[in-house]
């Protein structure tokens, strides 16, 4: 494993800042639903994210889990600055990313990179591997041809490829190798935060472990922070320091993986974990099968959005969304089962 030479100091580094590397506060993203051809009128909003707050500490992995459409990917995209949130803020090193100057925005873009699910779609088929990997570098730094070439070769070796692969096109590689190229590209500007959107879901099972191990190794060597989105709970358990469970645009439970998976509190988390296959078929497990479908995010249920499907719903659940409570050290959940009002009425 070679360590890429330090080319620039971490952008925007401010030694006095000691909070989490990145955090979002009460973030909301609503997409308007319009009707009518000429005169558009809003008939409602899709509440993709509805009041989510998470902290991503330096050098750690925060994972978001939940079923399709729960807002995991939208949350991750808020860090990539491709869309503006409806309300709430995204902070990086304590600064609101939507209030950065031009120069700071460029630095931010260099410090936050992403690896996507499908390496067949995330690499431009018409570009050679070296220009793919060098693109973020060319955009952010002024390097000579030889420096660029050297850096590309270093990056290729960092992710376990060979330097002669630089002259090839993406179609000449397997899925795992392509994902390595995507990782090398993301690493090129020495980012501090990497958004991993289902980084191994599209890969063969035999390759997944290799890519996950590579990501862990890179995290240790470069003290990277990851925001991982995954639906495979085993992947999440292996990779993360913190796990957040999302349901209908809200964070229902978060905590260290041992707590969230070992002692789930929220009824939705319990159902989610029970739906995953156990490590061994003879392992005993409680099977919770949820009734019905996920409600539409256009008109989410009142109160706790999960009460329509919750096996232990109470009267209070349909009134107001429950506040987030700490049930154990670092383990928080939003459920009336763990509040005084809830336990009182139960």
């Amino acid at each position: 494993m070679t360590t890429p030479s330090q080319i620039n100091a971490a952008p925007g580094s401010d030694s006095s800042y000691e909070g989490p590397l990145a955090h979002i506060e009460n973030l909301k993203k609503y997409y308007p639903v319009t009707q009518g051809m000429i005169v558009r009128k809003n008939v409602g909003y899709v509440k993709a994210i509805d009041g989510v707050s998470i902290d991503i500490p330096k050098g750690q992995t925060y994972s978001l889990v939940g079923e399709s459409g729960c807002g995991k990917t939208t949350t991750a995209r808020m860090f990539l600055m491709v869309e503006k949130p409806t309300a709430g803020q995204v902070f990086f090193r304590g600064k609101d990313i939507h209030k950065l100057s031009r120069k700071e925005t460029a630095d931010y873009r260099a410090s936050v990179q992403a690896v996507f699910q499908d390496p067949w779609s995330s690499l431009n088929p018409r570009m050679r591997v070296d220009s793919l990997i060098a693109e973020p570098l060319v955009t952010h730094q002024h390097l000579s041809r030889t420096e660029l070439k050297k850096r590309v070769h270093e990056l290729l070796e960092t992710v376990g490829l060979r330097s002669f692969h630089a002259e090839r096109y993406p179609h000449e590689f397997s899925g795992g190798q392509r994902q390595r190229i995507a990782i090398a590209r993301a690493l090129s500007t020495q980012p501090e935060l990497m958004i991993l959107d289902e980084p191994v879901s599209a890969l063969d099972v035999s390759i997944r472990a290799q890519i996950l191990n590579l990501l862990k190794e890179l995290q240790q060597n470069f003290s990277l922070s990851y925001l991982l989105i995954a639906h495979n709970l085993a992947t999440v358990r292996y990779m993360s320091h913190q796990v957040g469970v999302m349901y209908l645009g809200k964070l229902v439970e978060e905590g260290p993986p041992s707590a969230v998976f070992g002692d789930p509190k929220h009824p939705y988390t319990k159902a989610l974990i029970s739906a995953a296959l156990p490590a061994h078929p003879t392992n005993d497990r409680e099977e919770i099968v949820l009734r019905g479908e996920v409600p539409s995010p256009i008109n989410p249920p009142s109160g706790c959005t999960f009460h329509t499907r919750c096996p232990v719903a109470m009267d209070i659940c349909s009134t107001v969304y429950p506040e987030r409570r700490e049930v154990a050290e670092g383990h928080r959940t939003s459920c009336y089962l763990y509040t005084e009002t809830g336990t009182a009425s139960a």
């Binding site: 873009r109 995330s122 431009n124 973020p136 955009t139 390759i207 996950l212």
Partner: protein
């Protein structure tokens, strides 16, 4: 905490890159040779191109040379004028060969101009979306709906006759087809993850269009180009036939058909020969375009 074990080693090819690239070239060449090429259209297209380039060497006579002594010869009557002569004694074969030059020049320049404008509009419109897209596409609709002949008449009336104005008239209407098709392709390409990856890296929109989107719509562009060559030649012929643009006496296929239409009974070859040439060339380009479309992009089976 579950642990993963390294399972199955991923194959990292050790082959020499140079060897591989030679092999690649060989296999690509092999594929092209093995593919069933549309030989008839290719031969016709080649003949047109060769005639256009080497017209002075190939033509047996000067196409403008008037010789009353050999006027009104039918094809085959005198073998130094194999395709006969017109009522002024100009050699038909030479005029047809020079006509290829006119047609090729006019349609290529007009198409090229249309392609540059249309592709730019399509790329910008498709990538920018929203209001930019709406406005550009309405302009495109207007240009597509405007009859070419009418556009040509207006341009010729205002700017006067000449090759440049014919080219302008064709380009003014043809760009819209490029804009439409390219925009459609851009809408597909821009949703791929590599475009998002470039955006989050902070690559400028111009560079994203140039480096990521344009190279991925070149196939479509190539197909539209070949399919439109035939139509452009036909357009140029119609415009010349109507007397819009080229001066009488010039060697253009459409003009030759027009000149011969008063003598259809007495000198049938005057109109028939250039008419046949136009038909064959247009069909050759259309068939070749169809083949190219089916080979490169089977999902593009919409009429252009």
């Amino acid at each position: 905490m579950a642990t993963f074990e390294e399972s199955g080693s991923e194959i990292v090819s050790d082959a020499e890159p140079k060897l591989l690239s030679i092999k690649n070239i060989a296999s690509t060449a092999g594929k092209i040779l093995r593919a069933r090429l549309p030989w008839a259209p290719i031969i016709i297209m080649a003949v047109v191109v060769i005639c256009a380039i080497f017209a002075p060497l190939l033509a047996p006579h000067d196409p403008t040379d008037i010789d009353i002594g050999v006027r009104k010869l039918a094809p085959g009557e005198n073998w130094s004028y194999p395709l006969g002569t017109d009522r002024l004694g100009r050699d038909m074969l030479s005029r047809l060969i020079y006509g290829a030059r006119t047609s090729a020049f006019i349609s290529l320049v007009a198409l090229g101009a249309g392609a540059v404008v249309g592709t730019t509009v399509g790329l910008v419109s498709g990538y920018a979306g929203k209001w930019t897209d709406t406005i550009l596409m309405r302009i495109t609709d207007a240009a597509m709906g405007f009859p070419t002949i009418l556009a040509a008449m207006i341009i010729v009336t205002i700017l006067g006759a000449g090759i440049a104005n014919i080219i302008l008239a064709i380009a003014v209407t043809v760009w819209a087809r490029f804009a439409r098709m390219i925009r459609g392709e851009v809408l597909q390409v821009r949703n791929r993850d590599f475009v998002l990856a470039a955006r989050i890296t902070g690559v400028s929109p111009v560079m994203i269009i140039w480096r990521h989107i344009f190279p991925n719509v070149i196939n479509t562009l190539l197909i539209i180009l070949t399919l439109l060559v035939g139509q452009t030649i036909l357009l140029e012929a119609s415009l010349s036939f109507l007397g819009l643009g080229l001066a009488p006496g010039a060697s253009a296929w459409g003009l030759m058909v027009a000149e011969g239409r008063d003598y259809l009974i007495s000198m049938w070859w005057l109109s028939l020969l250039p008419g046949l040439v136009i038909t064959m060339v247009v069909m050759a380009f259309n068939f070749f375009g169809d083949w190219l479309r089916d080979t490169l992009d089977p999902k593009l089976r919409r009429s252009i």
